[in-house]
Symmetry: C2
């Protein structure tokens, strides 16, 4: 056992993206807790409840205990599922944490696969000690400071007036010593904060999703994520998707302002929470990077959105922006700036630019790859050595459970997995609660199973008379869970219309992929990596997706890589590195945007892509 105690194993928790080094006497539940990941462990880790489920992706663990054999099914054990409180590492391991093992608060997908970035932040600290003025040394406060600043190799400071005020006060309060946060620039540097000596400088990386805001508080010097948080976008109250929010903004001039204010208010509350978690003051936040789709970017900045709601859907601004946080009303240092990387098109925004940046950082440049960032709007990029072919498809909100009769988000009680065995339906729900609806991954899996069982044909029609299919108002529907077994006492069904929603969604994605390949002149086989990003993309069951033809059937499963919130990861990279900001601009220069609505064969490809055929289909 001494070997085990002295050994150091790396435990890699995916898709959260946290890593920790532990010895062989540390169980995985403790390891996860040490890494800052709280797993559901209703019994407190004593092996009774079976809720701390993890799945071994690679590496070696101690063999399953009797407790595990008791609480887990043979199928689960075969698939590598383990109880974290029972398993100890015997090598470095990579673990998948299923959604249901995370407490609800953590279920919003805000983490992505991390990759290392050389730290070179846009804002750096300079500690200065000055001689105080006297009647023979009458230099002004700023002159006094600037002489230190320039002798440290920076251009002289230009500053927000509010910060010049703080500067004079702090110098006198702190005995003519201060830590300055400097944003170096050619010609004149910006002073972004004035602090007591040695105060750590913080940065903020934010992904503004239409549905969800993901915020990361980062130590600018070391690059560590000190706190992160995912919250709902408050604009949802004014429209589920960007189109309806643009329509709302168009109704009255004050509406756009309202959407901006609501967003900023929620961001500020969340910044407050993050700062409390990390025990820092919000004034320590001296730099920020915000990414979002073009509409969110424009709402956040207070830019006009009317033109985003009508053909030809052009952004007001596609260029990278540098905006003072004070102008936006953000709760940061009054001198902080916000960097927003460039938008690509009206429906391929700065969040995709950021996701491209993260994707390119994760794997070799020469590999051709496809990035699919799945959301209400799915952005697709085919990345080759030289060019990047990007398009956007309206995949709709079906994957988030919307427009599905019994659809719901991946909250407690949502069916997220479905097995059809000999006509019997088995379902797995989030949190193991009695089923109350079906989430995106669940509906995808259900359709894939129904298709494989022949209950649904390739057009998406439910075969009348097939097991489980019944007629309701002369329309066929499949009974997934009868009322008696549900949490709310109502049948949970899958209707023809539900199937059609999924067909539209996956068809849009598939057609986009096919057109990118066509424009680039590449075959499916030539694409060496398929990167699936976005909240839904993280929990997507690739087998189901292939089964229903969301992706070309000939893609080998091992080429898929589910990376989580790639946009957020890219934002962090840009926060920590000026080089990465420059790189984001270079990336956008490489993009050839494909406007699908004017692409000649789009309609035909879309219709073909709606058929439910995957690799299994070919065997039929």
């Amino acid at each position: 056992m001494d070997t085990v105690r002295n050994a150091k194993f790396l435990v890699d928790l995916q898709p959260i993206g946290r890593r920790i080094e532990v010895d062989g006497e540390t169980d995985l539940l403790t390891a996860a807790q040490k890494a800052g990941v709280d797993l559901v462990a209703a019994c407190g880790g004593v092996g009774i409840c079976g809720t701390c489920l993890v799945r071994l992706m690679s590496g070696e663990l101690t063999p399953p205990t009797l407790t595990e054999q008791d609480l887990l099914s043979t199928a689960q054990l075969e698939q590598g599922y383990r109880l974290a409180c029972q398993a100890f590492p015997r090598s470095s391991v990579r673990l998948e944490i299923p959604l249901e093992s995370l407490p609800s608060a953590q279920k919003m997908q805000i983490e992505g696969e991390e990759s290392i970035v050389q730290i070179d932040p846009a804002v750096v600290a300079l500690d200065v000690t000055l001689s105080p003025p006297n009647l023979y040394d009458l230099r002004s406060d700023l002159t006094r400071v600037n002489q230190k600043v320039t002798s440290a190799g920076f251009s002289p400071l230009q500053s927000e007036l509010a910060l010049l005020d703080t500067l004079s006060h702090r110098l006198r309060e702190q005995g003519w010593m201060a830590r300055l946060a400097i944003r170096p620039q050619e010609g004149c540097s910006h002073l972004t904060g004035v602090f007591a000596p040695a105060t750590p400088l913080m940065g903020l990386a934010v992904d503004i999703g239409s549905t969800k805001l993901a915020l990361y508080l980062i130590d600018l010097e070391g690059g560590a994520t000190l706190a992160c948080c995912g919250v709902m976008n408050p604009q949802i109250a004014y429209g589920e998707d960007v189109i309806s929010r643009i329509a709302f903004a168009n109704k009255a001039p004050e509406n756009r302002k309202l959407l901006q204010e609501r967003l900023i208010a929620t961001l500020n509350e969340t910044i407050g929470d993050l700062c409390r978690q990390a025990a820092v003051r919000h004034e320590q936040i001296v730099d920020a990077v915000f990414v979002g789709n073009t509409a969110m970017h424009h709402f956040f900045c207070g830019l006009p959105v009317t033109q985003l709601g009508a053909s030809p859907y052009v952004p007001a601004v596609s260029e990278a922006l540098e905006v003072r946080a004070a102008e936006l009303g953000l709760k940061t240092s009054s001198g902080a700036w916000v960097y927003l990387p460039p938008n690509i098109a009206g429906y391929v925004g700065a969040d995709h630019t950021s996701a491209l940046l993260a994707t390119l950082a994760m794997s070799k440049a020469e590999k051709a790859k496809v990035l699919v960032d799945i959301g209400t709007n799915t952005e697709i990029s085919l990345i080759t050595c030289e060019r990047i072919y990007s398009c956007s498809t309206a995949s709709g909100p079906a994957f988030e459970g919307a427009h599905i009769r019994d659809g719901m988000r991946a909250a407690a009680g949502a069916i997220e997995n479905v097995h059809l065995r000999d006509g019997r339906v088995e379902v797995v729900t989030v949190g193991g609660q009695p089923p109350v609806g079906i989430c995106g991954t669940g509906i995808l899996k259900a359709i894939s199973e129904l298709r494989q069982a022949g209950v649904i044909d390739r057009r998406g029609t439910l075969k009348r008379g097939a097991p489980g299919v019944r007629l309701e108002n002369d329309r066929a529907e499949f009974l997934l869970v009868p009322a008696a077994l549900t949490g709310h006492g109502r049948d949970i069904v899958i209707t023809r219309r539900d199937v059609n929603e999924i067909q539209l969604a996956k068809g849009a994605i598939r057609a986009g992929i096919e057109i990118c390949l066509e424009v680039a002149g590449l075959t499916v086989e030539e694409v060496e990596e398929w990167v699936i990003a976005g909240a839904f993309g993280t929990y997507l069951d690739v087998n189901s997706a292939l089964a229903i033809g969301m992706f070309p059937p000939q893609v080998p499963k091992e080429r898929f890589r589910q990376v989580g919130n790639a946009a957020g990861m890219g934002a962090k990279r840009m926060l920590l590195s000026r080089q990465q900001r420059l790189f984001s601009n270079e990336i956008v220069q490489r993009v050839e945007y494909i406007e699908l609505t004017v692409y000649p064969s789009f309609t035909q490809k879309f219709v073909e892509a709606m058929y439910l055929e995957g690799e299994e289909e070919q065997a039929e």
Copy 2:
């Protein structure tokens, strides 16, 4: 007469600084009106009232008419006084317009002697015509604009968010045509306004005096002053001088904010007035230059002033500042910037920098000159080819009529000239109204006359028993105007204390001059030009000033040049020329600031300088 009709004569109106070319058949009243200068002409220019008084400084006029011989005294005629409605030019002429010839509204000295500047403004216009977006040209609005901007030779635009909003709207409203106001900079230019094509761009030059604000609305392309206005500084309600305002600001944190808000509010009202006068919209103001003493500069910008109220009196900021007008809340284009030239010291502010700039523009560089900008605080600079020796003296508010028993500002009824003839006192009042008090020029002249008549000795003591001197509570005072002849029915007197106030004021100025000469190692004779600036300086009677020893007695009278609001003139120059902004920074580099309070012989020199001795004294 045909020769006269065809001749073109330049009529130069001083100290207003307006010029106009007229023929020999245009009387001076009409000429002044054409130049935009309204003279008091109670009778409407028919030669009855005698109010349109002007004084010929150089050039030739038609001989005095019988009307003039009737209405003007022989002394007035000898001194070159004429009635503008009666005189016609016979050559180009330079005229002095006495204060009383201007309607009250124009009596605030806001104009200075103009000199030509090569127009090279910091903000320029670019008219663009763009092709609208379509499905095959999806460039963002800003990209579309930037391609025009960069092909016109500018760096790409960085902009206030509010203006990016306006940009998108205006492009669509105006059929994809617009006039852009661009502030070119290395790396990225600033967009400071978006207009309909061909909209004229405006600039604002402002001198923030402790007492008075002088605002000039300037056409940035042609350089013409379209409107100007002088208003009282509303901060007067919180303290007559900067020291008492700093004390007020120190009392409570919100007080400084209040002083700033009151100032900005008055500036905004006045900007509104100027715009109405010139029939432009305030959004057309795309650039501004503000000058003021260091305290006014700091109050305006919201910088800390506490350290200006205590030794060693250092500014928070001495560097030139570029501040967004929106940050200050100024009523201009939302993208406009404000330029503030550098402050020199705690009591030699950006207004003096600006006055130095104007002074250097007015005469040859190689001439050694003294600039004296007289106010509550008087800044003195001795300018040599290489260096500029500057100091500041607390001359106090006596010249503005404060701290003088019957003192008042130069408003209607203020005694502004005094003659003692054979024991008889003759007074001239502003606007010819019955006397109600005595203004700065009046008290100076009175003391000079009393000193010459031997009523006051060189220590400032009123000789008991001299004509007009009476005892009141055992203190000697001189009866200037008995109650029966005044507008308010009370005696107007000059007390020993009044004389002492003037001695302190003139002594401070004289001592400053002497010390500058000493530090520079120059004699009085080596100084070729004595430039007197500031509101009071304009109306200063040089003879009286020499008589009481405000200036060294050996200065020949013709070396004096009274230039009016030199600070305002410098601000205009910087508004119209980027070169002048650079020059203002170079000027400050040349300044050697002399802190009088630590100058070894200051006290001795100050005491000596208080004696009432001028050149006339030597004859005694």
